[in-house]
Symmetry: C2
Subunit: 171 residues, 2 copies
């Protein structure tokens, strides 16, 4: 089966969760899944569920787990660069049928990684590997290369009401 | 913790998968999840993964599993009505922290169920229950009641290239 390039972007809720839902679907079909998370560094509850119950999904994090406020630090850049290098090898090997680069668009946006390197990874990916890229601010060059792009658009959001992020729902 | 009303709608890919990703996150936080699927009737790979690995998620289907082409049949209406009745009781009991009414917007759109009944379920839901409603064509009355609404908007879709739905990726 030929693998494609999917992008989930936009300012709405549901980008990472859609990618994780897809991982769950893929596992049900007997596929192996690798999820690499850029920028993120803390343990989310979806990761806990996966570690406990879903051995065919591997999750690794390549971030410091704190928000990038203004300029990214050298440590942010180093962590993302290490992530891109690891994921290049993982994709190239073709052992995983579905590879999710979570928040990779954010890593691009803050120039933690170079888009040229990502485009090269896409270009050289084994035919059967499905690649999913998430995060706000997807650049046009990635849209051009993608087969499927969904924008998660915020129509209404409870944060506007001052509700805090909740365990099990937002993280 | 107070539960809210979330809606995932729009013509893009990622509505059901976002809801299932949320279910995975909730399970990681020790919550119990019920997923009722309207219109759908066949076994999807995400359901297979859940049945095998995630005992804190229960999935039931309230559809015939075939596309509604023109007018829904009596059997479509009966199946959806049964689903709404069952889910009313399930939500009311409050045993499940997260309840997903997958494709309920489609059931509304085809008039398989009455929006008045759904609004009543929302109004009477126990405080702690988080309710997630998915499907295209969400009516304005539901947007008004919801705390969070995300539109999954198709920017680019490989179906346009004539690619068939693929096991583990689309179903």
């Amino acid at each position: 089966m030929k693998g494609y390039i999917q992008v989930y972007t936009g300012n709405g809720k549901g980008k990472t969760t859609a990618a994780f839902g897809l991982a769950l679907r893929a596992v049900g079909a007997g596929m192996k899944v690798f999820i690499g998370q850029f920028v993120k560094g803390k343990s989310y509850n979806e990761n806990i569920a996966i570690a406990r119950h879903l051995k065919n999904i591997t999750v690794k994090q390549y971030g410091l787990g704190c928000f990038i406020v203004n300029t990214p630090t050298d440590d942010d850049i180093k962590a993302a660069g290490k992530g891109l290098d690891e994921m290049r090898k993982i994709i190239q090997k073709g052992k995983y049928d579905l590879v999710i680069m979570d928040e990779v668009n954010i890593a691009l946006y803050y120039k933690l990684i170079d888009i040229k390197d990502l485009l090269e990874i896409i270009k050289n990916k084994p035919e059967h590997v499905e690649l999913v890229l998430t995060g706000r601010y997807v650049p046009q060059e990635l849209i051009d290369k993608a087969d499927l792009v969904t924008e998660m658009k915020e129509i209404k959001h409870y944060y506007r009401k001052g509700i805090e992020a909740r365990k099990g729902i937002e993280y």
